[in-house]
Symmetry: D2
Subunit: 382 residues, 4 copies
């Protein structure tokens, strides 16, 4: 694994625990952690049980005990590391967004396709797909229980930047992060909407905004909760992005999408809210109640119809059977565990994992179209 | 109508408006309002359109333009007025609780039965039965959608006495109100549970409590929001009552009831919360969201089962067809309008209205059993 | 009053009841109802207590007992009736949308301004402003409790057209209704957002859609719930409209608006959902729980901060003091009563009522900009 | 650790992961798992990383590499194993309920007290105390933010026995489980109420019920989801228990408790619902939304007061700082991790862990009083 910060911890926890709750055809061995700051990486390695630590990720490529490289670094290094790993014959799991630009992402897809021809697999980490309620939402759409889709509204609302004193981390710098709320959290709702509904965003009209254009530079390389000093630096990414979408294809004619991603929605901590209205029913989800899915079956009699709060903790629900009895909810980290489970099953089964790098590229193209539209003021095709 | 305070206003509004929204076989005429303070009563009469005002309710009994007497006074006068009115051949609608004692209530039932033999009808005002969501709850139970009932939990939570400076009104005096939270609001949940489920409370074990035993006497005869002065008076009724119940009959063997009525539940303003669990489904209601009913159909597949939030505003729902389009909710007062509608239909149809005085007596007996059990510490048969 | 259908009933109920619960400086007298179908109008008049019925609204203009004309007809007649009434020296309350075109609305504003110089007043019926929770939301923004506004998201979701068999009423015909969801319900959220936040929509980018382009013609002139026959007719208005907005002015720089109006959101009956995020706090409202307002005070300590569910039924809340004790919620119709109360107070006080025709025109211009943008694909200034 | 089923898995997961997220003064080593069926225990050991497996728990007592024994077996073996372990100088963590009878629990307390004199510690596993929202609830009460407590209502609602075809597992047999819903889940709400409020149950009046008296015997020793065969066996424990409580002490005079534990509440999967009303505020919690706590501060102005939904995922909240950023919720298993964290800190710090065996005995006495009262029909002192 490359990287050892927030995503590094989440991934480590998943690698550690997947085999304890699921019957895996391949048991992951946590052999090497790579991190430029080897002291810090070593501390993480000891906590999570990585066997070895190296300072240069390139060492992973030449080690025999590394069969899969898990890329948990900031977005500006995804392309270089992933392509090199694939070329070295290592499977790759790469965090989202796939890359900081469409060009980089295209190069990664090309590398992934070449590698696939050799049986070397790749996957991009749109982890929220593995939240049981999201997987159930997709299943209900696939079963046709929503009928023709008319509306999608998706919001990813956080508030950790609402305070102007919050420091300028790498996530607020275009050269490191690619974009702001758009790429960090907007990418998730684009992927989730497409994953749940089967729709593909075809064109967008958008606006982006940076509400706070200068922030204190962090005193030291701190995490999300770090403090800033007296010196100020420029925020070079968006604080929020909103866009309307039309979808490609003819399966759901005229369907309208409304998207919003922001880190300035005071009081909303990690509210991924997705609502889908179809001719036969509707779905609603909010990650702040991640073990619930609301489902309205419009084919029932009007006397008792209504949105059902499905507690997605039954053995019949996706992924849930591996865990606890009904009503004993899961948390954020378990989606990462499910990602490992799916990946191990795909690798063992010789299947191409999903979401693929091509899926990641398509999301990247949507993000690029959003930025282009926000600049031009016109609708932009993806 | 006798009485012109809170209940008087609610009833007046119902008499005024029932005919505007429902096709009534008999159109009520608001002929005379009786109130000891004729000036105050006159003001109310002008607001609501009563034709005349008298100071002595006995005048109503001898007037030809009075065919129905609506008793909205405190509980200590219910028996005298209702019995006199029935004996004078006037139909009677009497606010709950039917009376301040079982003995009084029994006398009222006797009078009602005699009157019924002459076609003179009587009804007690358990108005919440006419909230559409409550009526729908009863309908679902009657349709068998809950199966065998296992559990009932009912709470009536208010907080207007949580402040010890809240003044000593007539509702806190045993000689006027009969009891405190028990009779004022506990009576409602006893009636509602029995109405919705068809169960009859058979025995109870109970505790009651008066948390604040002295309160400032009101400066003047003020309403609920009045202020108290420096002089203190003793609270002679319960502030809260809790009880467990066993039910009579064999239709739902072993069903357990848990009841709670209090005016000290800070933050709960008028939370009538009723939940029923049966072998095939469950219901939940909270008056603070009075246009909603939660219904869980346990016969559905586990994958999509869950409590449905039924917005009880469809034309298919009880009483709703008379009002607005779907989604345009009703308020507290509309249950009183529905009460008038039902009463007018029963009078025109020659049917005995429900809830009858006998129903009111039965509730009174439950309240008496609660008080007896709270005193003795033993289970008490109703 | 002109018109006697859905809005006519809501207005009649308000005229009838305002004086019973509020101390009015002017007591409305319900003298004449006008309706082309005098038999139908007569039935409504009898129900609600109108003194007289006429077939031609022009008669109202010459009657001395008419001082105010309440226009409840479809949008294509608003301009003609309102202008004539104002010119005849009658105050005018006109239902929204003010008119079916910007040009008509401009003429109405001109007439209103001329009339105002003579002390003749006019108001447009954006009634939802008078829902207590909405009025409280505005009050909190005005108190500065949200700080600088960053985000507004507003949705008006209904589902009564989700069924393709739902008939083609006048609301689906451009020549009668002007537009579809956009003007009927989108107008409300434009007005509400501007009313609550004090922001003015400056420019928009939009998409509109008609999902079902043909519907059965109604067998007879039926209401919302009427049935359709075998013959089909073309739907000539939008079924849904979505748009992004930028706001004018510099008070809240960069604030982003996201709007959505649809009659195809299965399971949402009358969900007016408005959420506002500011630098110091956030608000959220849903008309399906119309007696509640969610408020997040971001200046509180993080340990206990969170969205509060304010039950807007306290005497301290706008309009509530006239009604029932705390916790006894209001319904849809009461906002109309409050509209009458405010209007009577303004007329007696010699104040120009709000929202004025100019406010209605401004909303009309936003709607026109939405339609223009949906056609051109470009951002459109209002 | 002794036992390897549901609780065994939850505990194993906690032992594995506590050190990865929290700085522990003592790092647990998972040395030996004991299970009568060594093949099954071995499989669990491999999944979770236990170093060794033995068939007889007595072996643990003589091994030098065992310093703490974690007792996860059914209740009938708790006393024997725990006492033996304490006498052998091993710290003990024992699952709840402490024992199947008061007598056994008393013996355990005696052993714990003797052991404590030697520095050997013991703790009972009321794990729900370590849910962050519960820990926050206790903190708010301790800060005095509720004032004098008036009401406690606590429910533990499940539905896995609502189906009469659900098989007869050891949890339905008195000789194994001690009692039914009462001891299994009622014990939790007794402990939680006392833990959050600081109140001690002083006396109770109760009813218990077994709705389904015969169930199919399980085909094999299956878990909760196992299937039953054709042969039937008698259910010898309660399906549900309800009781009223008075509290000891004078800190909160007159406080009333209402408790309910059932496995027959259709649609409620693991609904631990606790509501506390005090003179200055109220709290409400439901484990089905375990990352939320509702808090009403009654000292705020009435205009904006209301129950706040605190998302208990901030770094300021108990236990949360070890995990993920705000809004990234935890699941059921994490409370077990926190239990290990607290226990390790107490062992290293030389403090007696809480809840102690004496705390467990006190809960046991409440359960015994409930059973006695259900039998006698009288209030029972604890």
């Amino acid at each position: 694994m490359v990287g050892y910060s927030f995503m590094g911890a989440a991934h480590s926890q998943a690698w550690r625990n997947a085999g304890a709750f699921f019957d895996l055809p391949l048991l992951p061995a946590m052999n090497v952690l790579s991190g430029r700051d080897t002291a810090a990486a070593g501390a993480v390695a000891r906590r999570f049980g990585w066997g070895d630590v190296v300072g240069d990720w390139k060492e992973l490529l030449v080690r025999d005990d590394v069969q899969l490289v898990d890329v948990c670094t900031p977005g500006d290094t995804h392309a270089e590391i992933s392509i090199a790993a694939l070329e070295a014959g290592k499977h790759v799991l790469c965090e989202k967004p796939l890359a900081n630009s469409v060009a980089e992402a295209e190069a990664m897809v090309a590398a992934a396709e070449s590698a696939a021809a050799q049986g070397v697999r790749s996957m991009v980490g749109f982890t929220y797909r593995r939240v049981p309620a999201i997987a159930l939402a997709r299943r209900l759409v696939q079963q046709g229980r929503l009928g023709t889709i008319r509306h999608v509204r998706a919001q990813y609302l956080q508030d950790w930047l609402a305070d102007p004193a919050s420091p300028l981390t790498w996530r607020l710098q275009r050269e490191r992060a690619g974009s702001g709320a758009l790429g960090d959290i907007g990418a998730h709702i684009v992927d989730l909407v497409q994953h749940i509904t089967g729709l593909t965003v075809g064109s967008v009209t958008a606006a982006t905004e940076t509400f706070v254009t200068e922030r204190p530079l962090p005193i030291e390389s701190a995490g999300l909760g770090g403090r800033g000093g007296d010196e100020m630096g420029a925020v070079t990414v968006d604080d929020a992005a909103v866009f309307l979408a039309r979808f490609a294809g003819t399966a759901h004619p005229g369907a309208l999408g409304v998207f919003e991603a922001t880190r300035f929605a005071n009081g909303r901590k990690n509210a991924i809210r997705i609502e889908v209205n179809g001719s036969d029913g509707s779905l609603a989800f909010d990650f702040e109640s991640m073990n619930e899915l609301s489902f309205h079956d419009a084919t029932l009699d009007a006397e008792t119809a209504g949105f059902r709060r499905i507690l997605v903790t039954e053995p019949q629900h996706p992924y849930v059977g591996g865990w606890w009895p009904a009503g004993h909810g899961l948390g954020y980290e378990h989606a990462f565990t499910h990602q490992v489970v799916d990946l191990m099953n795909d690798l063992a089964g010789g299947r191409e994992p999903a979401p693929s790098f091509a899926d990641g590229l398509q999301v990247q193209r949507v993000l690029a179209a959003v930025e282009a539209s926000a600049g031009s003021g016109a609708w932009q095709h993806v």
